[in-house]
């Protein structure tokens, strides 16, 4: 089984079970809504994939001659184009592309080693997951706690400093911020490594099963590898997570403040409920409902941030892959990555909607 398949099994089976549970237990409206959403996701991914296909092919430039460079003779270029099926009419190529999409076979890369995209994804997708998940958790952690704290102490020095933090951190260029962290913690203090997912030497002892190194180290009981994986995660996670946390602090703060002005908060106070329960239970829970939707919308920002973070930290994920392959006009690779991203966004927004409906009893679909 390929690492990609394993990961999808690890994530997919529990979510599928959960989904089935929700489908069985949920109201008819919710059930219908979820099914509709799933039904709509497929055409959405299809339309997006087609868009990317045509945009990539309309853009000037050619993967073959750009890979061969000036050494490629026209005959060579022509022959390779033929091998890759690039000399077919666009509509026939589109047909191939659709066939590939339906069979979930992403095809082969058009440049370099012409590897199957599925292999490239097997290496790159887990890397991106391993970066994006802890970064989101960190951002959420800082965002929710910081935002609530600031809202509860509105117009105090602490509130102003947290707001300042969120504005500054959000406006920092991610590559500059990452570089500063690398310089400070890597080069000057020498506390943390600044590149890669694992120490090269320890990495030789790690068996790759899922390509999620954290999981791989855990299941094989390779503790030194686990330590190395965690330590390598620190800087990229903090770079991406802190940058994202700025938005989350702002969003949480604004929503908690708004909620704190709601009548039921005054009513809760009038019943003698403790202030921290009022803030953290009543206000926060209600404030999180819109925040969660907004977080769902941040997935795109998260992925964009991941692209830059991966480049800075030489993190071999989907983001740096995408950048690399767009410039070499590797149509199939770009289509596949975008399709993957689209699926990811669709799945996350579906998840957010489901969570939303579970959190807010008023939501009726």
């Amino acid at each position: 089984m390929s690492p990609l398949a394993i990961i999808f099994t690890i994530i997919g089976i529990p979510s599928l079970v959960l989904l089935i549970y929700i489908l069985i237990r949920g109201s008819t409206g919710l059930r219908r809504y979820i099914l509709t959403r799933i039904g709509l996701t497929l055409p959405m991914v299809f339309i997006l994939g087609s868009l990317v296909f045509f945009i990539m092919h309309i853009l000037p430039g050619d993967p073959v001659s750009s890979a061969l460079g000036p050494k490629g003779t026209p005959e060579m270029v022509e022959r390779i184009r033929e091998n890759l099926g690039l000399n077919k009419p666009l509509i026939a190529q589109y047909g191939d592309f659709l066939k590939n999409m339906i069979t979930l076979d992403f095809g082969n890369s058009l440049v370099g080693g012409h590897r199957p995209i599925i292999d490239e994804m097997s290496e790159r997708f887990p890397a991106t997951l391993e970066l994006v998940i802890p970064a989101s958790i960190l951002a959420l952690f800082i965002g929710v706690i910081g935002g609530t704290y600031a809202a509860a102490r509105r117009k105090t020095a602490r509130d102003y400093s947290l707001r300042l933090y969120s504005v500054i951190i959000y406006s920092l260029p991610i590559f500059w911020f990452g570089l500063m962290l690398q310089l400070l913690f890597g080069v000057v203090l020498k506390w943390l490594p600044i590149s890669g997912r694992i120490d090269p030497v320890i990495g030789t002892s790690l068996e790759h099963v899922t390509n999620l190194y954290f999981i791989d180290a855990l299941i094989s009981g390779n503790w030194s590898a686990l330590a190395s994986v965690i330590i390598h995660l620190v800087l990229p996670t903090f770079t991406l997570g802190l940058i994202l946390s700025g938005v989350f602090v702002r969003m949480t703060r604004i929503n908690v403040i708004e909620t704190l002005q709601a009548d039921y908060i005054a009513a809760a106070r009038a019943r003698g409920i403790r202030e921290h329960i009022v803030v953290y239970r009543h206000a926060l829970k209600n404030a999180m409902i819109p925040v969660i939707t907004l977080i769902g919308l941040q997935v795109a920002i998260l992925l964009a941030g991941a692209v830059l973070t991966e480049t800075i930290f030489s993190w071999p994920g989907m983001g740096s892959y995408l950048v690399l392959r767009i410039s070499s006009r590797d149509y199939t690779a770009v289509q596949s990555v975008i399709t993957m991203f689209a699926l990811l966004v669709a799945v996350i927004s579906l998840a957010v909607d489901i969570i939303y409906s579970l959190l807010d009893p008023r939501v009726r679909y």
Binding site: L68, P70, T73, V77, D119, Q182, P193, D199, W315
Partner: protein, 546 residues
């Protein structure tokens, strides 16, 4: 309550990361980590055609002849000595040593080798990177092995530099169990074995590749380290930081001039400079106005001030180039300098005046360049060239930046451009590799000799071009080195007169390493870890002091 838990969480995070740091930085002593920003495109000798892929193939394999580390002298490796060449120059016969073994113990015989080399000829053209069409098929008719130690190359035409070709990576024996006869195997599953000093024991694409010593290796480039780990970076900046904080021992290609200057002043790091063969030049489409006018080209050649580019853009880390052949190659003379003495604006104006151009009737040039492919500095020095040309008062220059993927097809595919920027790096260190590709059969868009059916080198556009074709093709087959050199001296003069291309500068390669890394004193250039002018990096030379 909140504050307390926050402090506890923060505190424990710091402690955990300290602990992890402590146990994370244990590195075994004699393992050397080399960082690169390259990517592997193919590891099949019958297919691979990029510098980094070749470097790996050459470290894990051997060729009949090889260049000595540090100097680049051609010496015998798998062969017992230099080849026996037939009088017509068409048959090269090598005798192989009989102790050549793959790292898994398999013995390499001449028939096995010939079989794998024939694989290059047969399946090579259908492989994606297709090295065969450039370095084998145009030259080699057949490869045979009459006995277990003899290997015979029958050539299509006499080629004086064939020994150089035999030393390139495509002529490396590939393991018959790994590299099957019927298909190219670009990414074999590790471990896989060659006959060289090292074998690939682990390989994670885009992340790292691990080399371990070949126990059966009997050559004189014996591995000194226990392990070589090649680490792949997506960003040169990160690689520079990684060598600074010791995550990697060696930072190899490419760091770029700015980072190099930064690292040169860092304690504990040594930056070695190799006068490598990567050159940058302007190419012109000689078949398209106004570049079909020799006076215009000569005026350009008279206007460009190479020192200005080197000083202001590269702070002196590149060297001005005045010949099509970089210094050190056969027949290299600073012919552009003697001929045009640029910058010489008066001469440029005179050339243009001969063709009827003046301040009122300006000559308009469109020059293209790729903004990233040759480094982000390209746009800066193209701007300088524009200013220099326009300083004549007679040129008007339009610069267009075009992404590499659109730039290349436009440049090589017909009459859509006037002139632009190209870079070149030799496949084999011979003068012919710097001259022939720009002249023969369209010459990468220079169109001094138009490709035509039935002609070997193309049809020259004028008499001078014909003369150049004749000189180069004579030099290709001339085995008398003194005569060959004379032909190249003459050819370069015609080349400069035609301004086939305009050489600008050649780029040095830099290798940055931590001070406990050493090259070998038995070979040349230990200060660059025995990387010589041919930019061959032999990992066996490396040692690491505790």
């Amino acid at each position: 309550m909140f504050k307390k838990s926050m402090y506890i969480i923060m505190g424990s995070l710091v402690i955990i990361s300290m602990l992890l740091t402590a146990c994370g930085t244990k590195t075994a002593e004699n393992q050397i980590i080399i960082g690169v920003t390259d990517q592997i495109a193919s590891l099949d000798p019958a297919d691979a055609y990029s510098t980094h892929d070749w470097e790996l193939i050459r470290n894990t394999g051997r060729t009949l002849l090889r260049w000595n580390p540090g100097t680049g002298d051609l010496v015998a490796d798998m062969a017992t000595g230099m080849p026996v060449i037939s009088d017509d120059g068409l048959t090269y016969t090598f005798t192989m040593k009989d102790d050549i073994k793959f790292a898994d113990g398999l013995k390499l015989t001449a028939p096995m080798f010939a079989g794998q080399l024939n694989r290059l000829l047969t399946i090579g053209p259908s492989c994606p990177n297709d090295v065969a069409d450039t370095l084998a098929i145009p030259y080699v008719e057949s490869i045979t092995a009459p006995d277990d130690t003899t290997i015979v190359f029958q050539l299509k035409s006499a080629v004086a530099y064939f020994p150089q070709l035999v030393a390139t990576a495509p002529y490396t024996p590939a393991h018959p169990d790994t590299f099957l006869a019927s298909e190219c195997v670009l990414f074999p599953t590790a471990p896989f074995y060659g006959v060289g000093s090292w074998f690939v024991s682990q390989f994670t694409q885009n992340e790292q590749l691990v080399l371990e010593p070949n126990k059966h290796y009997t050559g004189d480039l014996k591995p000194q380290a226990d392990k070589i780990i090649i680490r792949y970076f997506s960003d040169p900046q990160t690689m520079a930081l990684a060598v600074q904080n010791g995550e990697i021992d060696v930072a190899w290609r490419f760091l770029g001039p700015q980072l190099i200057t930064e690292l040169e002043s860092t304690d504990g790091l040594t930056v070695g400079t190799v006068d490598g063969g990567a050159i940058r030049f302007l190419v012109f489409n000689h078949d398209m106005p106004p570049m079909d006018d020799p006076n215009v080209l000569k005026a350009i050649a008279s206007s460009v001030d190479r020192d200005a580019i080197s000083d202001s853009v590269y702070s002196g880390t590149v060297n001005p180039l005045y010949s099509p052949n970089p210094p050190g190659f056969m027949g290299a003379t600073e012919v552009f300098d003697t001929m045009y003495q640029a910058p010489n604006l008066e001469a440029a104006k005179a050339f243009l005046a001969d063709s009827g151009y003046d301040e009122t009737n300006k000559c308009v040039l469109d020059l293209w360049y790729p903004p990233e492919h040759y480094g982000a500095e390209t746009s800066a020095w193209m701007e300088i060239i524009k200013q220099q040309l326009e300083a004549t008062g007679v040129f008007t220059v339009n610069l267009t930046a075009q992404e590499w993927s659109t730039y290349v097809p436009a440049l090589t595919g017909g009459n859509s451009y006037q002139g632009g920027v190209l870079g070149w790096f030799f496949d084999y260190p011979d003068a012919s590799n710097y001259l022939d590709p720009f002249v023969y059969n369209g010459g990468m868009g220079t169109d001094v000799a138009l490709a035509a059916d039935g002609s070997t080198f193309g049809v020259a556009i004028n008499d001078k071009a014909q003369l150049l074709l004749d000189l180069l093709s004579a030099a290709d087959v001339e085995t008398d080195m003194a005569k060959r050199e004379a032909l190249y001296v003459q050819a370069q003069e015609v080349y400069a007169d035609l301004v086939v291309t305009l050489p600008l500068f050649f780029q040095a390669e830099h290798i940055t390493y931590r001070s406990n890394i050493r090259g070998s004193s038995d070979f040349g250039s230990p200060e660059t870890l025995n990387i010589g002018g041919n930019v061959e990096f032999t990992y066996s030379m490396l040692t690491k002091e505790p």
